[in-house]
């Protein structure tokens, strides 16, 4: 930590005076390889509109680094984390990515956490030939040809949508679907994609609407969805206010239709916004096998172990946000350790080779597999449908199959 602070200080001095532009870099190479730290640049959006998830990711990353360093680092090389808050602003994220790859001389960049920022940073990091662990879900982020060093450690938006469709259409047998998105970039593009995918599965989209995330009253939209004969409502928004209002309106209208969609439907922050606890019933949120309680009421072993280990750092009580955020952050460090350890180097070409040939690497969040042509590391089998109202310790019960 001390090291990071010192780094931060040098950077601030560099930036404030124009003369500092001329300051030469301290060359990163040339020191003894064994003592040389593995530098991870990390770009969470700890503040701003998209902070909540990133704070979770950040806990996981920090815990992973701490644990690895306590165990002697990666083959004796300590991990140095260089973390920069993007403030949820893409322009800022681009600046900070430049800073990390050029001034910070990092060996890896992880993040930014959300897609809007990642879309801008991925090409830049690719151009600098630095391995990039992508934590955003938008499809376009990954392209093994254009960005050969970008590897996704999270699911894609399509995977989320297909889990929802799969559950609603195949499992519940609903064939008349209403699709609700919000008017943000994420909501608009996801809703559009969802419509295509539902149709491709042979079901009928009877109603589709985009709603301003701050719209105060959804009676009109929900009534229309009902009048259109919808048998299931798919919700694609990351706004907890809109999600809660959808659930409240469904409840107030006494319409017992399954609502299926984005993980925000199961976020604990929804609970306090609901008119009645029962309004959370019959709501399916997209989650992960690794974060789901089995029929025996137990979590997978890896997950439980990490929860127990990290709980003291989070205030010892029950975990109050989605645990997969932490698990994913933690896995970022595990994947990097695995790559460096296997490659015995931080050379980007070596790292790429290792990751391209990684099969079923056991992380807490998922078992990752990357190949030459597929850089989306999370397999479909890792995904799960959860009961939204079953939140406990950051995890959920599986929806009945």
């Amino acid at each position: 930590m001390k090291d990071i602070d010192r780094k931060g200080l040098t950077i601030s001095r560099r930036a404030v005076t124009a003369a500092a532009f001329a300051m030469p870099f301290v060359p990163a190479k040339g020191r003894a390889a064994s003592a040389e730290p593995v530098k991870i640049g990390w770009l969470p959006s700890l503040t701003g509109a998209l902070a909540t998830a990133a704070i979770g990711f950040d806990h996981g990353v920090r815990f992973g680094v701490e644990e690895a360093n306590k165990a002697g680092g990666i083959d004796g090389r300590p991990i140095e984390l260089v973390s920069r808050d993007t403030g949820s602003d893409p322009t800022n994220a681009v600046n900070l990515a430049q800073q990390l790859v050029f001034t910070g001389k990092v060996n890896f960049v992880a993040g930014p956490v959300n897609s809007g920022e990642s879309l801008a940073t991925v090409p830049i990091i690719a151009r600098a030939h630095i391995p990039n662990l992508v934590t955003g879900a938008v499809e376009e982020l990954i392209d093994p040809v254009k960005y050969p060093l970008a590897f996704r450690v999270v699911n894609t938006t399509t995977q989320w949508i297909s889990v929802a469709n799969d559950y609603g259409i195949k499992q519940l047998g609903k064939h008349k679907i209403a699709i609700v998105g919000d008017t943000t970039g994420y909501g608009t593009s996801s809703a559009k994609r969802a419509v295509e995918m539902v149709k491709a599965m042979g079901a009928e989209v009877v109603y589709t609407v985009l709603i301003d995330p701050n719209k105060t009253d959804l009676t009109d939209e929900i009534s229309k969805a009902r009048d259109a004969g919808s048998e299931a409502v798919m919700v694609w928004t990351a706004a907890s206010g809109l999600a809660a209002r959808l659930l409240n309106t469904r409840g107030d209208l006494g319409w017992n239709v399954p609502i299926i969609g984005h993980p925000v439907l199961g976020a604990p922050s929804i609970q306090q916004l609901l008119n009645k606890p029962s309004y959370w019933d019959n709501t399916i949120t997209i989650g992960y096998q690794s974060m789901s309680f089995g029929p025996d009421g137990k979590l997978p072993e890896h997950t439980q172990k990490l929860i127990d280990a990290i709980r003291p750092q989070l205030g010892s009580g029950p975990i109050q946000f989605n645990f997969w955020w932490i698990a994913l952050g933690y896995d970022v460090v595990q994947v990097i350790s695995h790559a460096v350890r296997t490659a015995k180097s931080t050379d980007p070409a070596d790292i790429r080779k290792v990751l391209n040939n990684t099969k079923d690497f056991p992380g807490v969040f998922a078992q990752y597999t990357w190949t030459e042509t597929n850089h989306n590391g999370v397999p479909d089998s890792s995904m799960a449908a959860n009961l939204a109202n079953s939140f406990k310790d950051g995890c959920y019960k599986l929806a009945p199959r």
């Binding site: 909540t52 919000d182 009253d217 206010g241």
Partner: protein, 285 residues
């Protein structure tokens, strides 16, 4: 269709209340304060804080919110308006109130959080239906406030002072009216009105830090429709905008919602800059 109308009216009531906040500050200072929507937001956030977190009785929490709103109004007047009016530069108040609004919003974001939070149910009532208090509380509050304001401005001494100051500040100074005190009082009243309606509409809007900015804009559109300085105009403008928004989303969905309302603003300002109830300003020199 009834639900669309009702939701439009409730939304319109919210815009009307912000328009009235603008009117109050404009009356005594000729300042259209950007803080207008933010006093409303504060009403919701503080109401939720006092009742849900500080565990005050709803009525006590309500009164505490009003007091806090009045204090905020005083602070706005003292910090962002009074010193600026002493200078001749006509644009400075826009900047100072913009700065003050940013500060309010960021302090709320840092202390209260950026996620919307629950506003408590004020009266025992089953949820849902057209009679739900979440619609009728803001509508009732705004009608009440409008009636009280009209009575206040026409019938009470302080209200008449407001009018005197707004008609001719220099003449008011010459007649020995304490203009600074009257202006401070109008800002305190504006803060109270904003926080009162923000409190009343809390169940509809949730307690959410980002409300202020959109309300400042939409409240202004309501004001521009109705015409500056008129309570009837504020009510009508808010109602029209609320209904327009509700029907626009009903027919076209939300994707162009803001384009429709702000497009209306631009067209309206082109056609009738003084609003429906306003009078064209005459004096220039």
């Amino acid at each position: 269709m009834l639900s669309v109308i009702l939701s439009g009216i409730a939304l319109g009531a919210i815009y009307s209340s912000v328009a009235m906040v603008y009117n109050l500050t404009y009356a005594t200072s000729r300042v259209l304060s950007i803080t207008a929507g933010f006093t409303f937001m504060i009403g919701g956030v503080l109401g939720a804080y006092f009742i849900d977190i500080a565990k005050l009785q709803p009525i006590v929490g309500f009164l505490a919110t009003l007091v806090a709103g009045a204090l905020l109004g005083l602070a706005i007047e003292f910090v962002a308006v009074r010193r600026v009016l002493e200078r001749s530069d006509q644009h400075l108040w826009l900047l100072s109130t913009l700065a003050f609004s940013t500060i309010i919003q960021q302090v709320v974001a840092l202390t209260w959080g950026t996620e919307p939070r629950r506003f408590p149910r004020l009266f025992k009532q089953d949820f849902g239906g057209l009679l739900d208090q979440k619609y009728w509380l803001p509508i009732g509050a705004v009608l009440l406030v409008a009636a009280m304001l009209e009575l206040f401005l026409r019938r009470t001494i302080i209200g008449k002072l407001f009018v005197a100051v707004s008609d001719d500040t220099q003449a008011a100074v010459a007649r020995g009216i304490p203009v600074n005190a009257v202006r401070a009082a109008s800002y305190a009243l504006a803060g109270t009105v904003g926080s009162l309606t923000g409190f009343a509409a809390g169940q509809l809007t949730f307690a959410y830090f980002a409300l202020g900015f959109m309300l400042t804009l939409n409240g202004f559109i309501a004001l521009a429709i109705g015409g500056l300085g008129s309570t009837a105009g504020a009510l009508t403008g808010g109602l029209l905008l609320g209904l327009l928004t509700a029907f626009a989303t009903h027919f076209f969905g939300g994707a162009f919602q803001n384009s429709i309302s702000t497009g209306l603003l631009i067209i309206l300002l082109l056609a009738r800059p003084q609003g429906l109830f306003g009078v064209r300003a005459a004096r220039m020199v």
